[in-house]
Amino acid sequence: MNDLAWIFFSTVLVNNFTLAMFLGLCPFFGVTSKVDNAWRLGAANTFVLVITSLSVWLLNTFLLAKTPFLRTIAFIVVIASTVQIVEMIIKKYLPGLFRELGIYLPLITTNCAILGLALFQTTRNYNLIQGIVFAFGAGLGLTLALTLMASIRERMDVADVPTMAKRMGLVLVVASCLSMAFMGFAGLGSQ
């Protein structure tokens, strides 16, 4: 139990996927201009992460034990189909949410956080429960980073910044400060 709590908090805060491990930067910079979109995308990602973790556990346990060189290919195919299935389910049963997420849903396939989760779960030999806790923590961490960044950017839109920082420059410096703040959590779980 202690072990599970450690995995959870270390993934959400200490080893935050976006701010400490640089996974999933595309949505982090692309979709974070509005808080609403940010947390919705975070929720969709969390959902896909948990399902991927489950499928990767099944693959690792039953299919890939003897053929580890097929991992990358197998994982990416599973992720692409998972995203497709999730998209179809949401479209059928939650059409409102589907309209709101729009293009962000299929783009989850090429979010490196998902494949990163699959690879880390494999190299760290997590079992089913640990994997799902890990995936849930990763999703929560991603949502947290996206929402924080979006809130800051909403304020930045109305601030008067020098012209040279209008494009991505300032956003990256702000990301650096956020990442530095998250480094403060490092004392929480040093194993």
Partner: protein, 213 residues
């Protein structure tokens, strides 16, 4: 290249665009995850750049060569499979030939599969033109990506460890700025580069306006 090329030939232009005005990292902002994750030392940056260039060259060539046989409904899946195959090759070659680098880069080698530069070039360029042009474009994009990685990782290693490629450059009295090799340093370095580019663009625009007036 066995034929000498004039600087204005389309092949050279295809190559040059990836290096300069369409640089994948600095202009298109693609492939940022590996750019920042492995750029804490020059050696890692170089290895990542070369591995990505290899995958880019092979997959662009193959995508372009079989472009008439792939139905457009399943093209993205086919591209991903082609890319994943070459990434597996690169991963195994690195693990066999350079175990230390392979260990340092860890999961970021298999993560080349989801590097948006490669899928982006397959979809936007290689799937539409002949193999030769696709190769030139892939070489340019790969060189542009490697150049960006070398710039960022060189800066970070120099300030963060006082060395380049593991050789001590700044002498024993230099106090390493450890912050630069930690994650925030990656964001900061790229942010500074973007600020510098924004400053130059603003200055050029101001000068053009002054010349007009």
């Amino acid at each position: 290249m066995n034929t000498p090329e004039k600087p204005t030939s389309p092949l050279f232009l295809d190559f040059w665009s990836g290096l300069s005005q369409n640089n994948p990292v600095f202009v298109q902002m693609l492939g940022l995850c590996p750019t920042m994750a492995v750029s804490n030392s020059l050696e890692n940056g170089l290895a990542m750049g070369l591995a990505t260039t290899f995958v880019l060259l092979c997959s662009s060539f193959l995508v372009s060569a079989v472009r008439h046989y792939i139905p457009s409904e399943v093209r993205l899946t086919s591209y991903i499979l082609i890319i994943a195959t070459f990434v597996t090759v690169a991963d195994m070659v690195l693990a066999a030939g350079f175990p230390e680098i392979s260990k340092a880069l860890g999961p970021f080698i298999p993560l080349i599969v989801v590097n948006c530069i490669i899928l982006g070039r397959a979809e936007a360029f290689a799937g539409k033109v002949g193999p030769l042009r696709a190769l030139a474009d892939a070489a340019g994009m790969g060189a542009g990506f490697t150049f960006a990685l070398l710039l960022i990782s060189g800066f970070r290693e120099l300030l963060g460890s006082g060395s380049l490629l593991g050789y001590n450059v700044l002498g024993p009295r230099f106090e390493p700025w450890v912050f630069m090799v930690m994650p925030p340093g990656g964001f900061l370095t790229l942010g500074l580069i973007f600020l510098f580019m924004g400053w130059r663009m603003e200055r050029d625009m101001r000068r053009a306006k002054e010349e007009k007036a």
